[in-house]
């Protein structure tokens, strides 16, 4: 991140912001996609976050903190997208497996599906902590600073998120009933 670009963009320089947005768009979109689990929603959240960054950039006091600050606005945009579509999300039916599992490829697919299901049961707050920590490799203290919440809250969210996913996976791993689970 180039602090000079941030400072110029703060002063209203659209070309500086364009360069800044160009360099930030991919990482923001990658995080949005992992939080929201939907490419179209990630497109919208990234777009809204970049516009919010432009509009509120003059209020960023420390240009060196641009990256962390941009994640905070992105997570807010993810919230908004999630709320916007929550009421009309399709109901997914989960197919029970007949196990046991023998095939490695099938295992990989099943892993992904189970992780997906477990992850989608988490709140956006919890997902954001998981993605920033496990995908971006931020420490929990850095996540706390990026999201503007206390480190203790982030540690708690991380703990509860992992526990929630494990609980979901354990539930899925119990002997399945045949047919369609509702």
């Amino acid at each position: 991140m180039d602090s000079e670009l941030v400072i110029r963009a703060q002063r209203g320089d659209e070309s500086a912001f364009a360069a800044l947005a160009q360099s930030a768009a991919d990482r923001l979109h990658a995080v949005a996609h992992r939080i929201l689990r939907d490419l179209e929603l990630a497109d919208d959240a990234t777009q809204q976050a970049l516009l919010a960054i432009w509009q509120t950039l003059p209020q960023l006091r420390d240009p060196e903190r641009f990256d962390a600050w941009s994640y905070r606005l992105l997570v807010r945009a993810c919230y908004a997208e999630h709320r916007r579509v929550r009421g009309r999300a399709p109901v997914r039916r989960l197919l029970a497996s007949d196990g046991p599992w023998h095939n490695d490829a099938a295992d990989l697919v099943a892993d992904r599906e189970q992780l997906e299901r477990g992850f989608q049961r988490l709140s956006i707050d919890h997902r954001a902590v998981i993605v920033l920590h496990h995908y971006l490799g931020m420490s929990l203290e850095q996540v706390a600073e990026a999201l503007g919440v206390p480190p203790g809250t982030v540690r708690s969210r991380h703990h509860h998120a992992l526990r929630g996913m494990r609980a979901a996976l354990e539930a899925d791993a119990r002997p399945p009933r045949r047919g369609v689970l509702r």
Binding site: H29, Q47, L50, W101, Y135, G148
Partner: protein, 288 residues
Amino acid sequence: MNRQDLIDRDAFPEKLDAWLREGSTAAPDYVLDAVLDQLPGRAQRRGRGIPLSWLAPSTAAWGAAAAAVIIIAMVAGGTALQGAPMGAGPSEPRATPINAVDLATARSLAPGRYAVPDPLPEGLSFEVPTGWFGCTPSRYEPGVCTSLGQAEIGVSFLIVDDVVADPCTGELRGAPVGPGLDDLASAIASMPGFQASAIEAGTVDGHDARTFTVTAVDRCPNLTTWITPSRTNGVAAGEANLVRIVDVNGVRVVLAGAYHPMAVGPMDAEEQRALIEGVVESVRIEGG
């Protein structure tokens, strides 16, 4: 490998990390194009250059204004805030200078207008009358107080992350409070152990706001309330808080004006509340 491998404590984080690495790593061009197309119609929100140097406040002007606020509020029976609309439009430029002092250490404040410090949003300022001092337990909750005999009343400016589920035990909610003004207002107003007035919507200098009052009832001696980035706050039994939550460019700023309706002292509940309202109603948000 079987299903148990995935939920094994050691294997799980590794599987999770690998799964997260899958997926998009590039934003489609149209996302950036759409953003850049919209820039000309999207004005940046910037402050108007609040001077941060110490400037002498206008004591006489404040004294007259404060007296008027108190008299009006007393005549209205302490209901002026609920009954009056909040300021609807952007703030007008004012001649009143703004003081910059460390509210954590200021033993006394000259009457006048003060700006809240970082990390509260830039451009937010308020006025205090004679006899107030800084009372700031952490950088996330700068505040000003005044002493009424044995008790203190005051107004804090807070960034609140969450609200407790059980004020007696401080137990957290199952899920954090949602991101909207109404989410936070409802969460605070519905805390067990508190009586709350109706939540009223309005604006402060064009920024959305919600206002209500919560009063601690005698459910337990001390009640925990909301959580800032530094600590869990609490109130004493019987304490009332005039709460106004303002959306300042995406940041929820909570104004909590604490007073003691049941306390025996030099001011009754209405007089205390009028003082609190004077500070809360003086809040202005420059820019944005």
